[in-house]
Every structure is written in C-alpha cells, then in structure tokens.
Symmetry: C2
Subunit: 240 residues, 2 copies
Amino acid sequence: MNEILHTRHYLNASECNAQRRISLPLLVQRLIEIATDHATQLGVGPADLRVNSLAWVLSRLTLEMKAFPSINSYYSLNTWVESINRHFTERCFSITDGDGNPLGYARTVWIAIDLESRRGGDMTDIMAHAPLVAEPCPIARGSKIPTVTAPDLVRSHRFSYCDIDFNRHVNSCRYIEALLNDRDVEFYDSHAITRFEIAYMDEIHYNDLVEIRRSTTGNSSTYEITRDGNPATRARITYS
Amino acid sequence: MNEILHTRHYLNASECNAQRRISLPLLVQRLIEIATDHATQLGVGPADLRVNSLAWVLSRLTLEMKAFPSINSYYSLNTWVESINRHFTERCFSITDGDGNPLGYARTVWIAIDLESRRGGDMTDIMAHAPLVAEPCPIARGSKIPTVTAPDLVRSHRFSYCDIDFNRHVNSCRYIEALLNDRDVEFYDSHAITRFEIAYMDEIHYNDLVEIRRSTTGNSSTYEITRDGNPATRARITYS
C-alpha cells in the first residue's frame, strides 16, 4: 500500500492546448484519475463503495500552478490523504516536472454520498483504514466563493452528450471547459492561470439549461453556474 | 525499435461516457497518442519532422468495433505501419480487451505537410527507414464519403477555446464530439457504434463558424462539416 501514490506521465503533443501545455481540464482529469486509482489501492475505490451503495463525489478543488507541464515533456503527480472527518476527506496533490521540480499543488475535498438518499456517508467509517500523510501542500485551502452579483458576462449553456460521465452527470472537467471557453485563444496567450478554485454544489444532468455568470476584478474572475436560479457550481480563476 | 508498438491501458471510471465505456473521441485520442509515440520511436515523430518544417496530419480514420472497452477494465492497443507511398502512409491498429481478445481495428491515413507551403511531403523519403508490418487488419478501408444532399439535420456550430490543439486547429477528436452531440444520451443507450469513418479535408480554426449537415439511411448517418460552403470534414457512423 502506497501512502503517497506517485505517477509519471508524458505530455503527448496531441493532448496539448493552443499554448502547447497541458490544459487545466486535462490536468484536473489526471488528478481525478490518480485520486481514483489511489482510493482503489486503499480499498475505498468506486467499486468498493458501490457495494454499500455509496459513490465518491468531488466537492471542491483548489489548484495553484507556477507553470503547467509543457509539450513533449514528462511530468509527475503525487497524491495522498491529508485529513478525514465525519463529513469529508481532504486529498492533496503535488505536480512536478520530469526532474522533480515543483510546478504546483492541488487540494481536493471529497464526500461519499449514498446513491439512494443522495446524503453524505460518515467518512470516519469509510476511511477508517486510510493512512494520513503530513506531506506539505503549501497552498491556501479553497475559501467560500461568493455569488456573482454584478456580472460582466451572462450566457446560457446546454451541456451535450459528450459532456456526460458514467454517473450521468456533467463530467467535472466539462464545467471547467465551459468556463474557460468564455475567453478567446489570444487571451490565454497573454494570461496564465495561477490559481483555480471550484466548488461543485449541485449535480447538472444531460440537457439541463444553465446560466453562466462571470464577474471580473483585477486579474481574478468569479463564475457561477445556475440552474433554475439555484447555484450548481461556483469557481474563481486568477491569472498572471 | 518495436515494429509493432503495444500499449496496455486501464479505463478509469472518470474517463467513461454515459454508457460506462470508453467514448469514441477518447479512443481516437488514444490511437493518435500511440501513433505519435510509435512515430517518435521510429525517428519520425513530430519533433523530428519539425526540423524539416514538416508536421504530421491525420487525413482519414476508419474504425470498426465489436465492443468498446468497458469501465474499470484493462484494454490494449497495437499499432504498426502497413504501407508507404509518395503521398501518404497507412497505419493500422488493433484494440483488444485485457485478455487479448479482439474488440476492434482501425486504419488511418497520414500525410506530412510542409508548414509553410501547406503541401504534402514525399512520404517515401520521410518514412525510408520505417518497418512495414503485414499484420492483419480485417476491416475495409475508408471509402469516399459523399456530400450530404438531403439532410435530416442542419445546424451551425462554432468551435471554442478548449477545442483547439497545439497546432491551433480544431482537435481531431473535437470534430467527432460535435457529430456525436447531435443525438441525445438515450440514443446511445440503444445504439452502439459499429463502424466510424472520418475524412479530414480542410483545417478549421478557432472561432470559425461551420455548418454541420447530417443525412441518415437505415442504421448509418453521413455527416458533412462545411465552412463558407466548402467541405472541411466528412464522416459516416454506422450503428447496430
């Protein structure tokens, strides 16, 4: 059993974004993949939880990057469980280049929901045998993201078939794509994402019509995705 | 040097589509990745070609699947070069389950274009040292896909930031997503893709407005993506 799961990846050209780096959605996808693999190694993977009618839900993700892995280069990911309480568990990540130099860190908050009641299970039971690791993750925890009151952009959006995941909800990464798509390709030539926070509050399903609202202050944009006026996701992106 | 590149993959739950299988776009992404890796092993990867101001372009892909790899299971991919002539090279793939049982096959046609003239290079020079392999790939080559004359669906579409690849064109897989998104999630519960053909005819760029036209006969749909009335991509999807 690895207390810290370490994986090494090669960033193939065909995976890169227009800036010839890993995209934020693909990096988040990779983090979710290794979180899932590590949970499985610890005996609390999706298949283990399913036996008790439970499923992992990513509730919150916070990430800070000095630089994103670049085209045709190796990068490494590390993940470990930092804390467990009744309501949620915190899982951390570090992202390094091929030589082990830090590129960034991420923090995630996970809950396990009962597939029938949709209520959260007691994490201290579920994670009773998971090792806690006191590895440094030197980024601030995600803070409460406020509602968007004075938007500089409002648009409606409908998620499509390819946005839907195996749980029949919108894939966690496709929310992020919908937010990034509010800017044009030239914006990302001159702006690098340095910090990203997202809070998944309610599940969005196939063909749901949502509204995306954005407000921008300085080099930081706050987003809210609402359905029928209720917040489903909030996010904040800080650029350099 | 591997004449046939063999790779083994685990289909993580977080990568699956609503039918709890690998999606067609993600499978095509994996095929492009291992094609790129194999080309690099053979000394004709993107970085090698770039020295001579050349770049690989996927011109055509044909794929037949008995079944797509399913959630939380291993699958394997094999790729090899089947033929080379002045104008293009043919690369084949087999897809097997974790036990080596065939799930499907794919054929691709690649050209190397000069980055300045946008013309094709002489493949017999570029691929002079590549080994040809006479491994069976028992699916019919892609045939000419006709224009769509009597569409049952016409819609306009604009590709967004996250659809753009490192060459600043629409990512090959994002065309496929745009086509699949014309059907709802329930359609795919009752219809499995058994054969897929796509011909990339012209590059589409960020913010290009395109028209997607579809015609359906029996269990087969033909698609055309046009820009300013000119065909950019044609595709055919056959369902069971």
